[in-house]
Amino acid sequence: MEKDKKEKLKIGIYELTGCAGDALLILDCEKELIDIFKAADIQSFLMAKSDNIDGELDVALVEGSVSTEKEKKELLDIRKRAKIVVAIGICACFGGIQAGFRNKKNWEKNFKEVYGDIQMTHTKPVQSKPIDAHIKVDYYLPGCPIGKEQFLSTFNRILRGNPPELYRFPVCVECKWNENECLLNKGIPCLGPVTAAGCGSICINHNLPCVGCWGPVEGANLTSEFQLLQEHGFDRDFIKKKMANFSGTGMADFLDKLEGEKK
C-alpha cells in the first residue's frame, strides 16, 4: 500500500483568462471529488485550496487562454515543470470566445475602444491565444465547460499512465443516440455535424440548435457544413459568424480562406 501511495501522480490545475467554468466543473464533481483527490496528489488548484505548491508535476491541466504577459510567463513555467500538459476547455484548446478577433490589428483596435489610451500598470495585455500558441500541448480536452464524464475518464486514464480516449466524433452521433429529430432537416442552423461531442447533445435535447461551444471535432468537414447551411438559404456572412463564435483559432484557416474567396 505504502508503495502505491508513493507513486501518486502530481497534478496541478491552473486557470488563465476565462470564466473559470472548467475548474468549477471539476469542483462540481462532488461525489467523485474525494476519489480524485485520493487518487492523485493535487499540488496546485487555486480555486480550491490555498496551500498551493509550484513544483515538479506529472500532469498540468490548464484552463483559459493567454491574455496577458504575466499569464504567458506563468504558462511557460508550467510547461517546464510538467511532464504532460492537458488543455481543458475551449479557451485553452482554441482561445475561446475572446480569441474571436482573429487578426492582431482588429484586436488592438477593439482593445483601444474599450480601455482607451490608459497604460496598465499591473500587467501588459496580449491578444488572446490558445495555450498551444506558446507551448507544446500533449492532450486537448474540449468543452465549454468540459463535460464531467469525459473529464473523469480522461483523468482516470492519465492517472494510469494511458493516453486519454477522447470522443472523436461530432455531436450528431450523440444526438442520434438520444433519438432527437435532426434540426438541420427542419432548416434550423445547427453546428452539430462539425462540433466535438461530449456534451451529450444537450442543446438539441432541449429543441435548440448546437452553437458549437465545444469547438470543431477532429477532422470536421467544414466545407460540407458550410454548403449544407447555404443550401438551407443562410448567407455566407451568417454562417461564417456562426462558425466563428466559439471556435477561436479552431476554424481560423477555413474562415480565413473564405475571406479570401469572392462572394
Binding site: 501511495k5 508513493k6 501518486k8 502530481k10 486557470e15 488563465l16 483568462t17 476565462g18 470564466c19 473559470a20 467554468g21 468549477l24 466543473l25 469542483l27 474525494i34 483527490f37 485520493k38 493535487i42 499540488q43 487555486l46 480555486m47 480550491a48 485550496k49 490555498s50 496551500d51 505548491i53 509550484d54 513544483g55 493567454v66 496577458t68 504575466k70 470566445i97 475572446q98 474571436g100 478577433f101 484586436w107 477593439n110 474599450v114 480601455y115 482607451g116 490608459i118 497604460q119 496598465m120 500598470t121 499591473h122 500587467t123 495585455p125 488572446s128 465549454c144 456534451c199 444537450i202 442543446c203 435535447n205 432541449h206 429543441n207 435548440l208 452553437v211 461551444c213 459568424k241 456562426k242
Partner: protein, 580 residues
C-alpha cells in the same frame, strides 16, 4: 512608507488582491487590484445576432452564468419588443432563485462564517459545526439542481432563450423541487438567526448609497425594470448610465463605477436596505426582528442580508411552483420580427445589480454595454478598506489592518471563490524563537516540513533547511512536495508537533527568525468549502493547533539560486537550534 497587501484573492473573476499603503499614521492609498486578462466581451458581441449574443455572454463568468443569461435575454426582449407568457416569466424566476441559493449558501457558510466563529478556516470549523457544514452543502446542491433543471447543465446551459425556453420541466420535477424546498425550512430559519446574531465589528462604518433593481408591484425580488436607490431616487433602466458612469483605472481590467462622483454599493445588503420593508412571511418577521441602522453603514452585514435572502428564496419556491403548475401547457418560444431596437435588461446577480444593454441594427448587435456587480462595488470596497485601515491605525491597532481588509472584501462577495484564498501575513509579535522552539520540542519530537521554491532565492530557505536536517541524519523531515503522499505524517503523529520551515514576509529585517502557530499565518485562508470532505480527513483542528511555522524574513524572492547573506546566517542559527 509601508505596504500591506493581500496578493491573491483567489478569484475575482480570476485573480485579484488588495493593498494598503501606509505612511506613518496615514493611509495614503488602497488598491483593489484585478489581474484577470482583458477579454473584450462587449466588443465581441458586436455584429452577432441577438441569439448568438445570448449564447456568448454567460461565458463572462461561470458562477453568475444564469444571471448573465437572464439579463441579456431581458435586454434583447426589450430591444425587440418580445412579450413572453407568464409561465416563461415564472420559470425564469425559478432558475434565478437556484443561482441565489447556490451562491449565497456557499458564501456565508464556507467563506464568511469561519472568520466570525473563531476558526481559521472552514475545515477547522467543521469540527464544531459539522451539521451546518453538511446541510449547507446539501443546500448548495439543491441550488445547483434547480439551475441544471432550468438551463440544461450546471454551467453555461443553453435552455433559456429569447422568447422562452427550449424545454420546460415536468410536473413531477416541479413538485419534487417544492417538497425539497419545504424540507430545508428549519435549517434556513436557523441560518438567519445565526448570521443576524454574529458579532460584526464596528469598523468600518460609514454611509453609502445602495442601488438595486426595483421589482414591480411592490414586491421583493431579483429583477425589475427600474433601479431604486437608498436615497429614494428611482432610475429607469434605460437611464442606467446616470448611476454607473463607468471609467477605467490602471490597476484593473475591470471598469469602475461612481454615482454622482461617489462610490456606491450593490448586492444583498443593498436589496435588503432598499426593499426590506416589502418582505413578508417569515422573512418579513426576521427582517423586523434584526434590521437596524448599522445595516445601512456596515458592509459586513451583507452576510446577514444574504442569509435573510436565502429565507426569502425558500419561502418563494413552493409558491412559485404552485403558480407554475397553474399553466400545464408549455408555451412555444415566442417568435419576433423586429430587426432594430435598443434595450436594457437589469437583474440582480447574487452579488448585485447586473446590467446588459444592447442596440440592434439590421438584426445584428451594433452596441453592447455590460456592467457587472463587482465592477460597481470596486470603489466602495476600496473606500471601506481605506476607512478600516485608517481607523485601526489611529486606534493603535495597525496589526489588525490586513485581517480587517480581508473581512471587508469578503463581505462584498466579489465572486465566490475570490474570497476563498487570501494569502495572509500579519505583523508578527515579538517573541524569542529559540525559547519557543524548546517549548514546542517538549511536546514531542517535531516533524519538520520544508516549504518554498528553490528557484526564487530566499524563498528556497525552507527546502534548504529541510535538506540540511536530513543530511545530518534527522528523521521525519519532509519537503512540501512529499507530504501529500505521507498520510501517516498527518494521521498517526497527533502528539507530535508539526513545524513548517518557510520564508515568511512579516515586514521585519531580513534574516529575522520567528516561530508562530500555523493558524496565525493562515487565519483567513479558507480552503475550499467544496473540498471540505477531503481536506478535513487530512488535517483536523487538533492537528492544526499543534502545528507551527518557523519563518525567516527573506530579503529577496526574485528568481535566482543564491541566498542573501542575512538569510544564510539565519539558516545556520536555526539549524543549530533545531539540532540542539
Amino acid at each position: 512608507m509601508k505596504k500591506i497587501s493581500v496578493e491573491h484573492l483567489a478569484r475575482v473573476e480570476g485573480n485579484g488582491g488588495i493593498s494598503a499603503t501606509i505612511d506613518g499614521k496615514v493611509v495614503t492609498e488602497v488598491k483593489f487590484i484585478i489581474n484577470e486578462g482583458p477579454r473584450l466581451v462587449e466588443r465581441l458581441t458586436v455584429g452577432k445576432t441577438p441569439e448568438e449574443d445570448v449564447n456568448l455572454v454567460p461565458r463572462i463568468c461561470a458562477i453568475c452564468t444564469l444571471s448573465h443569461k437572464y439579463a441579456a435575454i431581458r435586454a434583447m426582449e426589450n430591444a425587440l419588443s418580445v412579450k413572453v407568457p407568464p409561465k416563461v416569466q415564472l420559470f425564469r424566476e425559478l432558475m434565478h432563485l437556484g443561482e441565489m441559493i447556490e451562491s449565497h449558501s456557499l458564501h456565508i457558510y464556507y467563506l464568511a462564517l469561519p472568520d466570525y466563529v473563531g476558526f481559521p478556516n472552514a475545515i477547522a470549523m467543521a469540527s464544531q459545526f459539522e451539521l451546518e457544514v453538511k446541510i449547507a452543502l446539501e443546500m448548495k446542491e439543491f441550488g445547483n439542481h434547480i439551475m441544471k433543471t432550468a438551463s440544461g447543465r450546471y454551467i453555461h446551459g443553453e435552455n433559456p432563450v429569447i422568447g422562452g425556453f427550449g424545454k420546460f420541466p415536468t410536473r413531477e420535477e416541479l413538485l419534487w423541487t417544492k417538497s425539497r424546498a419545504i424540507q430545508f425550512m428549519p435549517f434556513v430559519l436557523k441560518t438567519v438567526n445565526l448570521f443576524c446574531e454574529l458579532d460584526y465589528p464596528y469598523c468600518p462604518e460609514d454611509d453609502t448609497v445602495f442601488a438595486c433593481c426595483n421589482p414591480s408591484k411592490n414586491k421583493y425580488g431579483f429583477a425589475g425594470d427600474e433601479i431604486v436607490l437608498s436615497t429614494g431616487e428611482i432610475i429607469n433602466k434605460e437611464d442606467y448610465k446616470s448611476l454607473t458612469n463607468e471609467f477605467v483605472v490602471s490597476h484593473s481590467y475591470a471598469k469602475r463605477s461612481r454615482y454622482q462622483g461617489k462610490p456606491y454599493s450593490v448586492g444583498a445588503l443593498a436589496r435588503v436596505n432598499n426593499l426590506g420593508e416589502r418582505l413578508k412571511g417569515e422573512a418579513g418577521k426576521m427582517y423586523r426582528k434584526y434590521f437596524d441602522s448599522r445595516w445601512k453603514k456596515n458592509p459586513l452585514f451583507n452576510n446577514a442580508a444574504q442569509a435573510l435572502e436565502i429565507l426569502y428564496t425558500f419561502e418563494r419556491i413552493p409558491r412559485l411552483v404552485d403558480e407554475l403548475l397553474n399553466y400545464p401547457e408549455d408555451p412555444p418560444v415566442v417568435k419576433y420580427k423586429a430587426k432594430e431596437g435598443k434595450g436594457t435588461g437589469i437583474v440582480e446577480a447574487p452579488r448585485g445589480l447586473l446590467i446588459h444593454s444592447y442596440e440592434i441594427t439590421d438584426a445584428l448587435v451594433s452596441h453592447t454595454d455590460i456592467i457587472t456587480p463587482t465592477a460597481q462595488n470596486a470603489e466602495d470596497i476600496e473606500r471601506y478598506c481605506y476607512i478600516a485601515a485608517q481607523k485601526l491605525l489611529e486606534n493603535g491597532e495597525g496589526d489588525k489592518i490586513r485581517e480587517r481588509m480581508d473581512l471587508v472584501v469578503r463581505a462584498f462577495d466579489p465572486c465566490i471563490s475570490c474570497s476563498a484564498h487570501m494569502a495572509e501575513v500579519k505583523k508578527a509579535p515579538q517573541n524569542d524563537w529559540k525559547e519557543k522552539l524548546e517549548e514546542v520540542k517538549k511536546k514531542g519530537p517535531p516533524v519538520y516540513v520544508g516549504v518554498g521554491k528553490r528557484t526564487r532565492s530566499d524563498d528556497g530557505l525552507g527546502i534548504e533547511l529541510a535538506l540540511k536536517l536530513r543530511n545530518r541524519g534527522m528523521r521525519d523531515v519532509w519537503l512540501e512536495y512529499e507530504i501529500a503522499q505521507r498520510e501517516g505524517l498527518w494521521k498517526n503523529k497527533h502528539h507530535r508537533p508539526l513545524i513548517f520551515l518557510d520564508a515568511v514576509d512579516f515586514r521585519e529585517k531580513p534574516g529575522k527568525v520567528i516561530l508562530l502557530p500555523l493558524h496565525y499565518i493562515f487565519t483567513n485562508a479558507a480552503l475550499s468549502h467544496r473540498l471540505l470532505p477531503f481536506i478535513s480527513s487530512e488535517m483536523n483542528y487538533e492537528r492544526l493547533k499543534n502545528s507551527y511555522v518557523l519563518g525567516i524574513q527573506p530579503e529577496s524572492i526574485q528568481e535566482g539560486k543564491k541566498f542573501s547573506k542575512s538569510v544564510r546566517l539565519a539558516i545556520a542559527a536555526v539549524l543549530a537550534q533545531i539540532l540542539n
